[in-house]
């Protein structure tokens, strides 16, 4: 029987176990320990939300704090990866990608293919995403569609502590650049996680709830919101199948298509802005490959096409809700290819 630990602890444990197993695994980022050069406590923070706490003392010399210079240290992590290390670099909030994106999408993403298969770049870039903390427009975005768009990157979005540990372990062992998205509203979520090390393969979606009426495809925090909607609908006799994509690149199309073949109805839920997001991508895949199975038009649930607002009143309206998902599912139940 697995213990119960949080999403935050699960990531920390995966990092610790991989650092124990493989000396080439190093960590770098702003305040990943905290207190460098300061008169007080070292490892003061362990990352701004405490994910890497304790690793500094456990693995001397292998947790590197950095100046606020994302281009330099994200690039350095990528460079070190080409030279035999397995760095896990933290891009604190994904909103900061703008400061250093060249190193990610023109450098790391291109090496394997552009160099004719002669380079491996086993770097992991951990980053926080998502709304809900009243952190406003420059600290709340999702942005994973931008990374999913780039060939050569792997994009991972765990929804549970169990997945967070297994996917982080895989990310570190993987030989390609992995962007590991951690939803900041999930850090305190507790769940069963085995103590021993394990890796979950990329490109395998997880059917987190079975049902024959409507398929709900979701990712990250929206998996939980979708499960809530599925509970509400079950009370009204509608059985939803909830599919957690877990990785958007590679994408497990088969599990999605198989579910839609069974239910004939699809709702895709995405916390990212509504144009060119994962929901539109999944909708296109299903329309192209399973059109004949659809009994109703596909429904998409996403926030409005605006920056994330600060005021709690507005932010709560912005984030896709269980009620919106349930409404979308009911709409598919009415049928009709409108």
């Amino acid at each position: 029987m697995a213990r119960t630990i949080t999403y935050r602890e699960a990531i920390n444990e995966a990092l610790a176990q991989e650092m124990e197993r493989d000396e080439s695994v190093i960590i770098m980022g702003e305040d990943n320990a905290g207190g460098e050069g300061s008169p007080g406590e070292m490892d003061a923070w362990g990352g701004v939300l405490g994910v890497t706490k304790g690793l500094y003392h456990k693995f001397p010399g292998r947790v590197l704090d950095t100046p606020i210079s994302e281009s330099a240290f994200i690039g350095a992590a990528i460079g070190a990866a080409t030279a035999g290390m397995r760095p896990v670099a933290e891009l604190m909030f994904v909103d900061f990608m703008g400061v250093c994106f060249d190193q990610i999408y023109n450098q790391a993403a291109k090496f394997r293919y552009m160099f004719g298969g002669k380079a491996v770049t086993p770097v992991v870039i951990r980053t926080m995403y998502g709304a809900g903390l009243r952190a406003a427009a420059q600290h709340s975005q999702c942005l994973y569609p931008l990374f999913t768009h780039v060939p050569g990157l792997k994009v991972v979005l765990p929804a549970t502590p169990y997945d967070a540990k297994g996917l982080m372990t895989q990310a570190i062992r993987d030989n390609d650049p992995v962007i590991f998205f951690e939803h900041k509203a999930l850090y305190d979520l507790a769940g069963p996680v085995p103590e021993e090390s394990y890796a979950l393969p990329f490109g395998e979606a997880n059917v987190v709830r079975e049902g024959g009426d409507v398929t709900i495809v979701a990712l990250g925090r929206m998996v939980h919101t979708s499960l809530e909607a599925a509970e509400q609908l079950a009370a009204a006799g509608v059985e939803c199948e909830v599919v957690d994509l877990r990785t958007t690149s590679p994408l497990d199309e088969d599990t999605v298509l198989e579910s839609v073949e069974n239910t004939g109805r699809l709702v895709v839920v995405d916390e990212a802005s509504p144009r060119c997001n994962i929901a539109t991508d999944i909708s296109a895949q299903v329309a192209q490959q399973a059109f004949g199975a659809l009994k109703a038009a596909i429904e998409m649930v996403a926030p409005p096409h605006t920056p994330v607002p600060f005021s709690p009143t507005l932010e709560d309206l912005y984030i896709p809700s269980a009620a919106q998902i349930a409404d979308a599912a009911r709409k598919t139940m009415k049928g009709g290819k409108h």
């Binding site: 702003e30 305040d31 905290g34 207190g35 460098e36 050069g37 300061s38 008169p39 007080g40 406590e41 070292m42 003061a44 923070w45 701004v48 704090d65 100046p67 606020i68 210079s69 994302e70 281009s71 330099a72 909103d95 900061f96 703008g98 400061v99 903390l133 009243r134 952190a135 406003a136 427009a137 420059q138 600290h139 509504p274 144009r275 409005p304 096409h305 605006t306 920056p307 607002p309 600060f310 005021s311 709690p312 009143t313 507005l314 309206l317 912005y318």
Partner: protein, 328 residues
């Protein structure tokens, strides 16, 4: 610490205004600190207390032609550039009546009508923008200057370094104010900044670099006055480095275990308000009762701002989709 700067005479009115502004920032921040602890203020809040002499010493040299860009620690810059404190407080509370109608919050307070281009959630986000506003002033011939306030953390960002180079190459009326409060989050600037001083970097970008006691209003005012006059006259950019410390954590809720006693020392020995008051009363330029009257006036203003913010309406669903050019 004693004040060593020989200062230009400021009028009684200018002195009172500077004191009132610094006191307003201190009172605003102390009050937000207290109110945040009650749980009523949402999100991330980064307080400027301790650094008041920088914002006020610089901005008291600016006028309506001039633009500033700020940081995540932006309340002081906003107040010093004339943003309404009631609107600011309402913004921090997420109210419809806030500077940004509740859409921005503490980290994004802006008022372009006051030449305040915004607090900023991105470290190093401001300096490139300031090159642009300075370029506009230069091309239009307004005589305006632009000031980028940024922290010791941002002094290591490429955007900041590139902007200083560009400002020199284009000979822009731009001032770069590095507010070195000792820490980027928890990380000491003595560790993260490889040169002895941030101001030393100015030489690499072909501009003067000046180290300033950031706790001393008069030192800041003097250094900024000279740099701004040079920029207005077409003499190009300057880098000013303010040395001081912040009185609160990186953000509210920060336990600050990385620090060791320097705040107590600064409050007791270096505080900009205490030193300002001592100096102007010693010279007889202002009296203790002048200052007490200013304190009372400021306290009432901030009280009113908090009361109004708490009573102000929240945004409604209709506000979610305003200020966009397309709706999906």
């Amino acid at each position: 610490m004693t004040d060593t700067v020989e200062r230009k005479a400021l009028t009684r009115e200018q002195l009172l205004s500077a004191y009132r502004m610094m006191r307003a920032i201190r009172e605003f921040e102390e009050r937000v600190h207290a109110e945040f602890a009650t749980g009523e203020i949402p999100g991330f809040v980064h307080l400027y207390a301790g650094e008041e002499a920088s914002a006020v010493g610089v901005c008291s040299n600016l006028d309506g032609r001039d633009t500033i860009a700020s940081t995540h620690r932006g309340h002081g810059h906003c107040i010093a550039k004339g943003v309404d404190v009631s609107e600011m407080m309402a913004e921090i509370y997420g109210r419809q009546t806030g500077s940004c109608h509740g859409k921005g919050g503490s980290m994004h307070i802006a008022d372009l009508s006051k030449g305040m281009l915004g607090a900023n959630g991105i470290v190093g986000g401001g300096p490139p923008l300031i090159c642009g506003t300075a370029l506009a002033a230069k091309l239009k011939g307004t005589g305006g200057v632009s000031v980028a306030f940024f922290g010791d953390g941002a002094s290591n960002q490429g955007t900041t370094l590139e902007s200083m180079n560009l400002a020199s190459v284009w000979n822009l009326p731009a001032i770069f104010v590095a507010e070195n409060n000792g820490y980027a989050e928890t990380t000491s600037s003595t560790w993260s900044v490889a040169s002895d001083n941030i101001a030393d970097r100015a030489a690499g970008f072909g501009m003067p670099g000046v180290i300033v006691d950031g706790f001393d209003f008069f030192a800041v005012h003097e250094a900024a006055s000279e740099a701004i006059a040079r920029a207005r006259a077409g003499g190009g950019p300057t880098l000013l480095e303010m040395k001081f410390t912040r009185y609160f954590g990186h953000f509210e809720g920060d336990q600050q275990t990385y620090r060791a006693g320097e705040v107590e020392h600064a409050r007791a020995e270096l505080d900009c308000l205490t030193r300002f008051a001592a100096r102007v009363t010693e010279t007889g330029e202002l009296t203790r009762s002048d200052l007490d009257a200013a304190d009372a006036e400021v306290a009432a203003t901030i009280d009113r701002a908090v009361d109004e913010a708490k009573a102000a309406p929240l945004p409604t669903e209709a506000d979610l989709l305003t200020d966009v050019y397309v709706r999906y």
